[in-house]
């Protein structure tokens, strides 16, 4: 799989990361290198191998349905840039 400059620009946009001219070229190259590794992996014969969703062969533990958290709004909001009436304030977003 090859990666073009346009792919990187689109990914940067989706990830809300600003890339300048110099870093676009550099990032394109390093991601291309990673994809080359992926290509090598793709070449391995995986016939009959069950796909895994996680690298460890472990199973998720579930917890009982109990309320264990208490209200720490004051502490959390103390480190937020802007709050009002108990709400976190963010730049206006309307879809």
């Amino acid at each position: 799989m090859t990666i073009e400059r346009a792919d990187i620009e689109k990914l940067a946009e989706l990830a809300r990361i600003e890339l300048n001219e110099a870093t676009i070229a550099e990032t394109t190259q390093s991601i291309a290198d990673v994809l080359a590794l992926v290509d090598q992996l793709q070449a391995a014969d995986t016939e009959g191998v069950e796909p895994m969703a996680h690298p460890t062969d472990a199973v998720q533990r579930l917890r009982a349905d109990e309320v264990t958290e208490t209200n720490h709004r004051e502490e959390f909001q103390a480190i937020a840039p802007a709050t009002e009436a108990g709400l976190y304030l963010v730049p206006k977003v309307i879809d």
């Binding site: 989706l14 996680h54 264990t68 709400l87």
Partner: protein, 482 residues
Amino acid sequence: MEWETVIGLEVHAQLATKSKIFSGSSTAFGAEPNTQASGLDLAMPGTLPVPNEQAYRYAIMFGLAIDAEIAKTSVFERKNYFYPDLPKAYQTTQLERPIVGAGHVDIELANGTKKSIRIHHAHLEEDAGKSLHEDFHGMSGIDLNRAGTPLVEIVSEPDIRNAEEAVAFAKKLHSIVTSLGICDGEMSQGSMRFDVNISVRRPGEAFGTRTETKNLNSFRFMEDCIALEVERQIDLIEDGGKVIQETRLYNGETKQARSMRSKEEANDYRYFPCPDLLPVVLDDDYIESIRQNLPELPDARHDRFMEQYGLSSYDANILSGDANMAQYFETATKVSGDTKLTANWIMGELSARLNAEDQSIKHSPVNAEQLAGMITRLVDGTISSKMAKQVFEAMWNGEGAADEIIEAKGLKQVSDSGAIEAMVDEVIANSDKQIDNYRNADESKRPKMLGYFVGQIMKASKGQANPQQVNEILLKKLNELI
């Protein structure tokens, strides 16, 4: 030329767990903003999710209720997008390996037609927070209490062909989840929300391009929104235009819809398995024990209501559909002892009143015991059906139990035959002319002439004489005079 409508639904039902799907924060509705948002819900670095077993149990109960395959291994994935009410910048959801596989939900339409709507799958995921766009100095306010509330998202196949089927399907789902007790079904609080995918085509042709209208939270809005969107698409195509794939928002109050974003510029969600969560593996015994403990489902309850209470299929449908309505009916009929009257009052006066005030039966100002108390007094003749309406009104306004109201308002019906006889005698004695007319009238005309006498007697009793007894005694006395 004819058009065919094709509809598929995606339904979000909030699961009635005490705590969130991945954290121990409370899910209680109506708390002060952000008082139920923990470090994990706020996406603080270093926090890790642990799934709630009850959310799994509830999703499995739903799957079993719709005859679906339950996945013994299910996997959470990250759906990546940016929105301030989603602090992690991804929603933890399921895609490739959801907990509930294909199933079906059977609906019955007003004309008795039955139809099975296929369910593609249902998956577990977390709800987002809420954005408040009132003016906070040009900023938006974010409340993350809802973030992390467990949801089951139910995805139907495009098997629905019109608004009536869509509403019947949505109501049936509502009935199933409330009967299972896995969702409180409070649509006004957003406990159940419907996304409707709509397209039109010429019968027999391939599916047309669809639009998705999101977040409908009332059956009536769904019906109105489908009619509007179908008309819009047909007009567009007939005028030579093309439907574009987009997300739309419908405003139920103004009955208008607008485009939200088109899919062309839409997000590429870049799903991938969540590295913070391992696959959830369940065994047959676990699933089987849930199956053994499933509560009564709507279809079974419908049949039981017909058999046990002698209700028609139509009445049984209304009374058994909503789990809260069914419970209300069963409690009330047990106390009052009169199934028919209880059914009529619930489907008539009570439902009309609840609808008019947009109330759910669960929060009815008149509870099942109170209604039954009033019906008991109707059955034993203490009050007439006219008085019952007054009593109901007073109960609705919180004036107390039926007996208290009957006492306070002096609404007791006079059923003492001696007292009624005396009133009848008095009216007859003062109505010489009317009595002559009655005597001389043809027998077939006489029944119509009774109205005058009944009116006079009811007036004399200040409306409190038992109308049935008045009729009986009056007829007897008049017959003696002829």
